[in-house]
Amino acid sequence: VNVLRDDVPGPSLDRDEVLAMAPAAEDGRFRVPRILGEAP
């Protein structure tokens, strides 16, 4: 029995609304502290 729905695109959350709740965002992305050892 196939229990998966049809592969039809649906609406998703608004990007700006989601990013507005992030502690830091920049250029449409989440901003985080440095991950590797590179200069900040």
Binding site: L13, V32, P33, R34, I35
Partner: protein
């Protein structure tokens, strides 16, 4: 203060305005909320606006739904678009979800008026609502006592008459235990009957949303409104909500009810005495009642505190200071994660994340998590076997009546024992509900619990209605 069913009937017919109903309830809240702290947030303006919209629709002759004008409260782990949803945790303080939980949309669509977000143990981890980062809720029957938990704010809000109904979540008893301690009806539906979309996850294989109400009929009304398939929850069962109000008058003639020995043996004598009284009431109404035993059920508490913590350790990994909620800066991302979680989570949440991480760690996985899942299978097998001979099981909801604030706060294992009678239904995915059934030796409410096999809600509600009627 009238019942949800009476309010909806009067508002739908135009006999009462939703605006008046919401003002009456806001006045009750104003009178006692400072003492009880049932709410993290009271949405007075939003409630007034929603009530005005219901009244406008009634005046215009539009359809207003089965919960028209009914004031309801939501546990603060149910997402409300644009309205803070904290899980009573510092780590989510100030977060406003970008979407509504399915149950929230369904309540709104049914005409309910959302009055506030209720206090809870942080991330639903606790049995007294003392683990809230924003301070405890107190029991309306005796403010020196806890309301139970983790949905203690929702239970207290209904018991105090702040709202006509409320929603909570039940992972190991977090609806039924506070319902029992606050003297209200609380229902944990079959796993998958109510969509979990928009419920902040604690332990995903155990979590289920359900109603609190002042009567069995109101609980049925609320559950009918929120149940039924939701394509946005992959664990949602197919099919519509069950018809519950329609069966409430059908009685229990011929039903086979087993009084669960292992539960009765686990509780105080005054609580056990109320179970005996409830068994007598069902028998007097025509049910066939005798003692039942489910030996593996005694494994429940141990299995639960491995499975629930394991799932929690995974689910709570998302609180990392990146996408929402609290961030405490660090010099690199690892330091930021650690500082954020150290500052944002309370002691009980940290304890369970550590227990769960350990239970899942390489080398210990089979010994802890694997064993717990085997025990879970044994419990399900034993329950399936007993339901070949019984339609319902009856037992206590909690070992004791409401205990005093602080007495178990420093003893996690004593606190965990509060849920010994409620946990097995979560492990099995079965429905169960607590019905207020008289008072204990200390004069505080006692809840008795009805347990049913999967999707046995209709039978369970029939028996609940008989128990309720036997008290009056």
């Amino acid at each position: 203060v009238s019942s949800a069913g009476d309010i909806a009937g009067a508002v739908r017919s135009g006999a009462r305005s939703a605006a008046d109903v919401v003002e009456e309830h806001l006045a009750v809240i104003a009178g006692r909320e400072a003492e009880l702290h049932a709410f993290n947030l009271v949405l007075a303006d939003e409630a007034r606006a929603a009530a005005a919209e219901v009244d406008r629709r009634v005046a215009a002759g539009e359809e207003v739904g089965a919960l028209a004008g009914v004031p309801v409260a939501l546990k603060d782990n149910l997402c409300t678009r644009g309205i803070p949803t904290t899980c009573s945790s510092r780590i989510l303080e100030g977060w406003r979800p970008p979407y509504d939980a399915t149950v929230v949309s369904r309540l709104r669509d049914a005409g309910a008026v959302l009055v506030g977000k209720t206090n809870m143990d942080e991330f639903a981890m606790g049995s007294s609502t003392e683990n809230s980062a924003f301070g405890p809720t107190r029991n309306p029957h005796d403010p020196t006592r806890v309301p139970g938990g983790s949905s203690g704010g929702s239970a207290a809000a209904v018991a105090a008459g702040f709202v006509a109904g409320a929603l909570g979540s039940d992972t190991g008893g977090s609806i039924r235990q506070p319902a029992a301690l606050c003297g209200v009806v609380g229902v944990k539906p079959t796993y998958g009957l109510v969509s979990r979309y928009g419920l902040v996850a604690f332990a995903s294989s155990l979590d289920q949303i359900g109603p609190f109400a002042g009567s069995v009929a109101d609980a049925a009304l609320l559950l009918e409104a929120i149940a039924g398939h939701d394509p946005r929850d992959s664990t949602s069962l197919p099919g519509p909500a069950p018809a519950l109000r329609a069966v409430l008058g059908q009685g229990v003639e011929g039903l086979r009810v087993g009084v669960l020995r292992e539960f009765v043996d686990a509780v105080e004598l005054d609580v056990a005495a109320r179970v005996t009284a409830a068994a007598g009431a069902l028998e007097a109404a025509g049910a066939k009642v005798d003692e039942a035993s489910v030996p593996a059920i005694t494994l429940g508490l141990s299995a639960y505190y491995l499975i629930a913590t394991a799932e929690a350790s995974s689910n709570l990994a998302r609180y990392d200071g990146v996408r929402y909620g609290l961030r405490v800066d660090g010099e690199d991302i690892t330091a930021m994660y650690g500082a954020t979680r150290a500052a944002g989570f309370g002691a009980e949440v940290k304890r369970r994340i550590m227990l769960g991480t350990y239970a899942l760690s390489a080398g210990y996985y089979d010994a802890y998590y694997g064993q717990a899942q085997k025990a879970r299978t044994l419990i399900i097998r034993d329950l399936d076997a007993v339901y070949e001979s019984y339609d319902l099981l009856l037992g206590p909801t909690t070992p004791t009546t409401a205990f005093e604030l602080g007495v178990k706060a420093d003893d996690p294992l004593a606190m965990y024992l509060s849920d010994v009678c409620t946990i097995p239904s979560n492990l099995a995915g079965h429905p169960a509900m607590s019905i207020p059934y008289g008072l204990g030796a200390d004069g505080l409410p006692v809840g008795v619990q009805l347990l049913a096999p999967a999707l046995g809600e209709a039978t369970m509600f029939r028996a609940a209605a008989v128990l309720e009627a036997s008290l009056s």
